[in-house]
Amino acid sequence: MKFKYLYLYLLSNLSASLLFGYLLLLVLPTFVLAQSEGKKIYDAKCLACHGAKGEGVKGKYKKLLSGDLTPNQLAKVIEETMPKDEPGSINATSSLAIAKYIHEDFYSSIARERNRPARVELSRLTVKQYRNTLMDLVGSFREKANSQEKSKGIKGEYFKARNLNKGDLVETHVDAEIDFDFKIEGPIVGKTEPHDFSIRWAGAIFAPETGYYEFTVQSSHSIRLWVNDAANPLIDAWVKSGKDTEFKGSLYLIAGRYYSLKLDFTKAKQGVNDNKKPKEVQPAFVKLLWKKPSGPLEICPSEYLTSNTFPEMFICSSPFPPDDGSLGWERGVTISKEWDQATTTGALEAAKYISKKLNEFTKTREGDAQRVEKTIEFLKKFAMRAFGRNLENDETALINKVMLEFKEPQEAAIRVIVWVLKSPQFLYRHEGGGDFIASQLSYTLWDSIPDQQLWDAETSGKLKNPELLRREIDRMLLDSRAKEKIRGFFHDLLLLNHTSELNKDAKRFPDFNPLLESDLKLSLDKSLDEIFWNKESNFQKLFLEDSVFMNQRIAKFYNQKLDAKTGFEKMNLDAGKRAGIVTHPYMISMLSYAAESSPIHRGVFLARSIVGVTLKPPPEAVAPLAQSLHPSLTTRERVIMQTKAGVCMTCHGTINSLGFTLEHFDAVGKLRTQDNSKPIDTSGSYVSRDGKKVSFDGARNLALFLASNRDTHRAFTEHLFHHLLKQPTRAYGPETLEQLTDYFEKNSLNMAKLASEIARLGSQKVVAQPQKLTKQPLQSP
């Protein structure tokens, strides 16, 4: 652990921003409101004239009770003037109690703000949405990536001479990874000469997160690597010079997408063809590695490689300030100067990219007589797709005029694009107002703009037909962008986005290293993908799944035997003793200290993320009791000792009794039978919102409880709703959450169905007639 003190309530691996969000959550109305003394007196003595919430009563006192007096000032007014027919009858103590109650409940401006009915707010694109939208907007003018099943591994073409000429091709096959030591003999003995061969690997690579990726090629000989941009190599080490054998290049990639990748290797000399067999042949090796935005330098895993081809993507890499995450999900409800400046940089970045390749986008060339017309046509389409509607006459006129003024298509294009991308019509989304169903759906499920098919469904009126709407939603769910959005949802839910490197005690767990950690994260992603995108998409499987995806490294660490050399296989681990993703080795390791388990981290996670309990922060920050100070105690005993005070137990009652059930798992997620040489007590309990107390013992019983409890169903529904729509459920009606939870339970807890229903519900929120601006019907952009 990096920090000297760890606070009991703070998940050690979580960032400060999460803590911040956690605190802010407290201002949200909680489901249990204490009946205060003040309320009792108010209801008895004041309500008749002022109404239950100070709203006033016709014929008695009409005005709203609100203002800027402090509770003490208010108390004085009450004591001296109230009630109207019997001033002075309420004593000072009671007056203060009333004052405190109404100040807190509805009188003060803060209380009024809090009581404002939730509504769908005008939101700008979140950063994720912005980057996705630009990528898809630009990409909509290019050939579509094939969405067929992605093969794992990358295609390798092996040539018997230096220049990768078709005529010299001797073999083509898929390589799981690029991690080769050809030694002196070369790759295919008998088909290639040891001193004169070349190889081309071509396909694509998947980016599991957004940020800068550092690619590294280690090779004894010449290499060139292209990623996304087929014209300009990311790494060019075609000239072999001196002793360097490691070459690097960095590139910003956006999560959830595949990017074309090509690696050329040649063992032969460049320049004049003088490939006489040398007296002494040098050994050859080549390896393709990367460092993800978070994670160690590792061989690019076969899981992320494919032989499928992908078109070049536009990647907006301009830095943006982070979105407001104070409610636990990213929202675009606030703006700042930094954000405005970032949209300028982003607009310029995109405009320059497009204008540089304008001929490609407008399907024209230098000297084409139609070049100006084609450019105008392109720019109009670009603006329509960006705004998600038809263009107004003055907008079309603007494009024509810019073209007329600047003549040179590239100059005109750059200006029009900057205008479009700086326009609020592009930057904001208006779920409650002007947006079309198509846009609502695409942002809900893809965090991006609609594709052509979705626009066509909109213009043909299909989306107004409930059956066809469902079908369209189902199609959208199959898209890789929906998969990415769901993956992002789980990362939020499981707090994975807030996790930096897991540092484990090197003495106790010498083999737990960053490479293993990276594999474990991928293993967890694979489980989540599989469970969610399975036909049943069964929520209960999240807790009841027995197996863990393992590769060689994971299997070795958890003492399993795996035959496959590369890639992952699903393997049973401690059958019947685990709780699905809750006890996935990555989750357990994350919810632990460096050397010891942490029932409190685990309990807080279960309470907040899984069962949906609102927890207050502890009254004071406390450092955990060091194990070394209490060498005879188990972790459970230490936690009980430290949190036994009444003030702690209001929350730790819930936290501890959930967290203790996972005590069979040590700090790296291995099953154990003893803690500190003592038997382990894994009994725990939970009091549901309906007041029933449930007891369980151990991870499996916890899992069975979580899988079938209404509170966890509701919590999951709410988390998914927030993540998809980025608006509070109450904005869609006070009953929305319970109704959706009912829907979820009635539909066999099918998570994909729930997502589909949330998307449908969100798309029905179009209250105003969209496209107020345009009289003519929407054309498919």
């Binding site: 509504r119 707010e121 005008l122 700008r124 000989h221 010449s222 060019d236 075609w238 000239v239 072999k240 010079s241 001196g242 360097d244 032969a268 000399k269 460049q270 320049g271 004049v272 063809n273 003088d274 409800v333 606030t334 703006i335 100067k337 405005d340 400046q341 300028t344 310029l348 405009a351 230098e366 006129a397 603007l398 005029k401 810019v402 007329l404 003024e405 040179e408 590239q410 100059e411 750059i414 200006r415 900057v418 205008w419 700086k422 326009s423 609020p424 019509q425 904001y428 208006h430 107002g433 002007g434 107020k772 601006l773």
Partner: protein, 436 residues
């Protein structure tokens, strides 16, 4: 669109290059104490050796005649220095073309590698930095001589492949610098920021109109965020306006759509030279390399009536008079480009200083070989025009097999950077070449 025009304040009316000479002078008021003139250096490279008989002056000393290839320098003869007898003695891996360009400014061996030339062993990149980078680093270290870029590495039709034959400038051992070939790319480097601001200025009105339109459709609560947004856009408008007021350097105009191909070589050469002139004048950089094609360059100078590639011609024997004539023409053409640049500098008063820009800018013209058909690294062409490195101008030198490392050292010394050696110390024994 009238609005767009009105707002288009950053697209200044007079942004043609003619306004530039007056702009730099503004600095004079800002830095009154600076008496010493700037020192600049531009190293030109053309490939495949020269035709010695039509190149080297017969005479030694101050009275000399310029031969045909150097004739375009006649107007600047009293500022011209010709160095005969300077040899690239660096040996090791690589053929003479490779070492010719790779060791020319580095004075040090190439690494062993996998690039195979027509003879000798294969080689990689140079094992040290080049003199232009050495001097640039020196100038950038000092506040008084630091400039925005320090140096520019420019090219004209350098082929789009990175190998030993195409790289002359090295930032360090094994780190060749790719020259900027594309005038539009160079323009973006020099004026990209100013251009961005101009573009932003031109879209302000439509953006503000859009904000108003959106705002009118929203309820009171949602309008707040749009009002805030409008405030940021207004801020940007103010910033752009302030910037416009303080902007004392306007952008040159570039003819659009010139493709990089052999036919456009003369046009691209002039575009690059004009931009380099602007950049030096604006004091964006003090050092530059300017590389015509590459070692073994294949330019076909059809505009001179020459259909064969340059390198191919350079292999012809001396007895092929037609080929020799063509080679003279080709080399003379390169010389004309340098004369064009010299003239441009000469016609530009030194901003913030005395005399004209040529007085303070050393132009060096060199080549990877002494002579094309023999591939000799002896008598490497070094012709210098202008500059203020303290060298005696208007002189023809004849040295005896003198290592070119000594010239590289002399360049550094000319800038006040008194290094004892540069490149391989073996060839630095007698110190800087004395050119007074």
């Amino acid at each position: 669109m009238n609005q767009l025009n009105r707002r288009n304040f950053l697209k200044t009316a007079g942004i043609s290059t003619t306004t530039i000479p007056f702009l730099g002078n503004l600095e004079a008021f800002a830095a009154p104490g600076k008496a010493i003139n700037k020192q600049r250096m531009v190293i030109f490279f053309s490939p495949n050796g020269v035709v010695p008989e039509a190149f080297w002056p017969q005479e030694e000393g101050e009275n000399f005649q310029l031969k045909e290839i150097l004739a375009p320098l006649e107007p600047f003869k009293n500022q011209t220095i010709v160095l005969n007898g300077v040899c690239d003695k660096v040996r090791g891996d690589g053929d003479n073309h490779m070492r010719g360009i790779g060791c020319l400014l580095t004075g040090i061996e190439l690494f062993p590698g996998n690039v195979q030339g027509g003879s000798h062993t294969p080689a990689g990149w140079a094992s040290g930095l080049s003199i232009d980078q050495e001097i640039k680093n020196y100038l950038q270290k000092n506040e008084a001589t630091r400039t925005r870029f320090g140096s520019l590495e420019l090219g004209v039709l350098v082929p789009d492949r990175a190998d030993t034959w195409t790289r002359m400038s090295y930032s360090s051992s094994n780190k060749p610098i790719s020259p900027i070939n594309d005038p539009y790319q160079l323009f973006a480097k020099l004026y990209g920021q100013a251009k961005d601001k101009e573009i932003l200025g031109s879209v302000l009105d439509p953006v503000i109109a859009d904000l108003k339109r959106i705002s009118s459709q929203l309820g009171k609560e949602d309008r707040k965020i749009i009002e805030e947004h409008t405030g940021f856009v207004r801020d940007m408008e103010k910033e752009l306006r302030n910037l416009k007021l303080s902007n004392n350097h306007a952008m040159p105009k570039l003819e659009p759509g010139i493709r990089e191909d052999n036919e456009n070589l003369p046009k691209i050469s002039r575009m690059q030279l004009d931009l380099l002139h602007n950049s030096l004048q604006a004091d964006f950089n003090r050092i530059s390399t300017f590389q015509f094609t590459n070692s073994v360059g294949m330019a076909k100078m059809k505009w001179l009536g020459i259909e064969e590639g340059h390198h191919q011609l350079s292999h012809e024997p001396d007895t092929n008079k037609v080929a020799v004539e063509k080679l003279i023409k080709i080399n003379k053409w390169f010389c004309e480009e340098i004369a064009y640049f010299a003239k441009k500098l000469k016609n530009t008063p030194e901003p913030n200083g005395q005399g004209n820009m040529l007085d303070n800018t050393l132009l060096v013209w060199t080549n990877e070989l002494g002579k094309g058909n023999s591939h000799t690294l002896d008598n490497i062409p070094f012709v210098m025009v202008g500059g203020n490195l303290g060298w005696k101008n208007g002189k023809s030198h004849k040295f005896t097999r003198t290592s070119h490392n000594r010239l590289l050292i002399a360049m550094a010394h000319g800038f006040g950077h008194n290094i004892a050696s540069f490149g391989n110390v073996e060839y630095c024994k007698d110190g800087p070449l004395v050119l007074s």
